[in-house]
């Protein structure tokens, strides 16, 4: 039974890991995006909605394995679009990144509930058909590979030096010739698409439904995980797994008493508080994260 829980933990960790990786990329470049929750919701909706539209409304036929791929692609595109907006606000418009993130969450909450109702005519719960489902293990492999790749890019490649420079000291980076705003914008577009893909995973691979509360706070857990991982993709894997473990454990504990479930849900947030307070470990965010860069 323990190996079942361990496997469940892995599958539960995937969306958190993907969203965390996206946020690490963004924050390392200097942009903070608290709209991960909203992005997940939008991704969770877009995937199934898009393939449904393709299949039923347009009558397109695709070989089976391509359907989930199409769904992820749709989610990624939606994520990129949102990332473009948030990224543009955060860079060239020098707007407030937190407010923009709050707006994304609000908008997504309404849009997803509205979308389910408007498209399928049901009040908030739609099963995902079998042909559209994806294999969660495949996504898990993808997420782990991505984590390794991102670690390499950030800490061993020259691109990583450029990205990190934008997040630590954009003025100096600019003086060396780095187009800070462009780097940040691209990072935001890519990072946001990862969060949306995480959402699509929830609907087409993990839970097989589309509901208006499908993300259930995972976006915020991912934010917590970024701090927990000290903005390092490798540690983010560990963190996501730990959170996934408690997630899986809590379902098993639910039979023992509802109280435990809520406490396990609280753990990621309390852990983050302890970390930022410096009680456990050192959290060292990129210095210029959250501050828009304006050339003087």
């Amino acid at each position: 039974m323990i190996d079942l829980i361990l496997m469940q933990a892995l599958l539960a960790a995937v969306p958190i890991l993907l969203a965390s990786l996206g946020e690490i990329l963004m924050e390392r470049s200097g942009v903070v995006n608290i709209g991960l929750e909203g992005l997940m919701l939008l991704g969770a909706l877009s995937g199934p909605l898009f393939v449904d539209y393709l299949h039923y409304r347009l009558g397109v036929q695709l070989p089976d394995p391509l359907w989930p791929l199409a769904a992820f692609l749709a989610a990624a595109l939606v994520g990129m679009a949102v990332g473009l907006v948030h990224g543009y606000i955060s860079t060239y418009l020098a707007g407030d990144q937190i407010i923009s993130g709050v707006a994304i969450n609000l908008f997504a909450a309404g849009a997803v509930a509205y979308g389910i109702q408007a498209y399928w005519g049901v009040a908030g719960y739609k099963q995902v058909p079998d042909w559209a489902k994806a294999d969660p293990l495949a996504l898990a492999a993808f997420a782990l590979a991505l984590a390794g790749f991102m670690w390499y890019v950030l800490f061993r490649s020259r691109l990583g030096i450029v990205i990190r420079a934008c997040g630590e000291d954009p003025e100096s980076a600019f003086n060396i010739g780095v187009d800070v705003n462009r780097v940040r914008l691209l990072a935001t577009v890519v990072g946001s698409s990862l969060a949306a893909i995480a959402g699509a995973y929830l609907s087409i691979a993990y839970l097989s439904v589309v509901t208006k509360e499908i993300s259930a706070g995972r976006g915020f857990i991912a934010l917590a995980n970024v701090v927990f991982a000290n903005w390092n993709p490798a540690l983010a894997v560990a963190g996501a797994y730990i959170f996934g473990f408690f997630d899986a454990l809590s379902y098993w504990l639910q039979t023992a008493g509802v109280a435990r479930y809520e406490i396990t849900r609280m753990i990621p947030y309390i852990a983050t508080l302890l970390i930022v307070a410096g009680v456990i470990g050192r959290a060292r965010p990129p210095r210029a994260v959250g501050k828009p860069f304006r050339r003087e």
Binding site: R158, L159, R164, E168, D169, E171, S172, G177, R284
Partner: protein, 478 residues
């Protein structure tokens, strides 16, 4: 390399005329010291040479050819590199990563060639660097070396060092001089920006002095420190004094064994000061020798060790009025009650009409040019903003007045006006701690003069005994 600046003018977007027709020649293999006080224009001039700023008018010639730099990169390609006073290494990256950053993005790791080149440059200059350590963890002296390597990495022939010893300890200063000498041996030109005369004496082949945006003198060895100081601060005239009466006996401010630390270094070292009633104590010295920290410690804005005793209340005129004394976006009334909001309140509620009347009185009494008490502070000119601050502070009726560069940046008439106000306050019984780098002002106003150098008070005495000669030399660290 041979570089020339001709008739450089620089006017900034806020109207400041920083450089007025400065011309300068630099030869290969020479160490040229650019000497002057803060605000003289040294950094601005060099930033123009390094491509960071563009001149409002004037020309730059490299090897006899006229050049125009659009940005720092252009200058770097021409062989000019600048190591800024506030080091521009990116924290969170290692030393080698900072160097490699200029190579651009790509998925490949830092190549071996980059490393080899960096190591070679360091070797030639006689030092070694831990390349794989996060620059945050490196001591400031080592960071500076990385900056120098970074500057030379692109093949610079002319290296500009802006106040390089500000952050160094004495042994590190010695090492830096070694590096500068090696650079000279290799035929590089070095422009060494400083306001510290002992350093100039040690390594400069030639000295050019700037004051208020103008080149006022050029010297070759052997150097006479007194003439250097004179060139830096201008002719030291002793003006007729209109002070009335002798200083009293009772102290209004006592500072004992004051220490202030920043970044691990002691910026103020065991300072003792006394200001008495009816006395103006002028603390003079070139800016950057701990005066700002001293003042901030006294008013309680900065943590310190030691004793500060203020007898009765105090008034405070900071050196940077916009940052430290004003609410720019708010009306004058809200600025006028800062620090005394309780006086206008009854039962916890402020009477803005009473505050408004008070502000109107200030406007009239101190000749502030403003549409009315409810005008927004930002719309006043700098001089009028300062008058507001001075008026607000002097009208507190406090027994101690702390004035930090009270007339900096003001026109002649306002300067005169503020100085007279300080004298009047002193004549009326107040004690004034005047911290200034303007020697004219100090001699005009002071009963007592103290000189600060490198965080210590190196001389103090009544104004009659503190001759310009002594003061000048002490200011220069001699």
């Amino acid at each position: 390399m041979k570089a020339s600046l001709r008739e450089i003018h620089k006017v900034f977007s806020d109207g400041t005329h920083a450089l007025r027709g400065v011309s300068l020649d630099i030869s290969p293999g020479e160490v040229l010291a650019l000497l002057g006080e803060n605000g003289a224009g040294k950094t601005t001039l060099m930033k123009i040479l390094a491509g960071v700023y563009r001149p409002t008018s004037g020309e730059i010639y490299i090897e006899g050819r006229r050049v125009r730099f659009r940005n720092a990169r252009d200058a770097q390609r021409a062989g000019i590199a600048m190591v800024h006073q506030h080091l521009s290494l990116i924290p969170g990256l290692t030393a080698i990563e900072n160097i490699a950053l200029a190579e651009g993005a790509g998925l490949r790791p830092i190549s071996a060639e980059v490393r080899q080149r960096a190591v070679k440059i360091a070797e030639e200059l006689g030092f070694d660097v831990e390349w794989d350590r996060d620059v945050e963890e490196l001591p400031l002296g080592v960071r500076q070396r990385v900056e120098i390597v970074k500057a030379l990495y692109w093949g610079a022939d002319l290296l500009i060092l802006d106040e390089p010893t500000t952050v160094l300890s004495p042994p590190e200063v010695k090492s830096l001089f070694q590096v500068v000498k090696r650079l000279r041996e290799r035929g590089k030109s070095v422009v060494y920006i400083t306001h510290k005369i002992p350093e100039v004496l040690e390594i400069a082949d030639r000295v050019v002095v700037l004051r208020r945006g103008v080149k006022v003198a050029e010297f070759t060895p052997p150097y006479d420190p007194k003439r250097l100081v004179e060139a830096m601060v201008g002719e030291l005239r002793v003006e007729a004094v209109s002070r009335v009466g002798r200083p009293g006996e009772r102290p209004v401010l006592e500072v004992a064994d004051l220490w202030v630390y920043e970044g691990g270094r002691a910026v103020v070292q065991g300072v003792n000061l006394v200001v008495r009633e009816r006395e103006i104590l002028a603390v003079v010295g070139v800016e950057g020798n701990g005066q700002e920290h001293l003042v901030e410690a006294i008013v309680g804005v900065r943590r310190h060790k030691g004793v500060v005793k203020i007898h009765g209340g105090y008034a405070y005129i900071p050196d940077d009025r916009q940052r430290k004394a004003m609410l720019l976006e708010r009306p004058l009334v809200e600025n006028a009650v800062l620090g005394r909001e309780g006086e206008f309140a009854r039962r916890g509620l402020i009477s803005w009409s009473a505050a408004s009347r008070f502000t109107a009185k200030l406007i009239e009494e101190f000749g502030i040019v403003a549409p009315g008490p409810w005008a927004v502070a930002r719309h006043l000119s700098g001089g009028n903003q300062q008058k507001l601050v001075v008026g607000r502070e002097l009208s507190r009726g406090a027994r101690l007045i702390i004035a930090h560069q009270p007339t900096r940046g003001l026109d002649v008439a306002t300067t005169e006006y503020v100085q007279q106000l300080l004298i009047k306050a002193r004549n009326g019984g107040a004690g004034v701690l005047l911290v200034t780098s303007d020697l004219d002002e100090a001699y005009k106003l002071a009963d007592t003069i103290a000189v600060m150098y490198r965080g210590k008070v190196v001389a103090v005495g009544p104004v009659e005994e503190m001759t310009v000669d002594v003061v000048g030399r002490k200011m220069a660290g001699l």
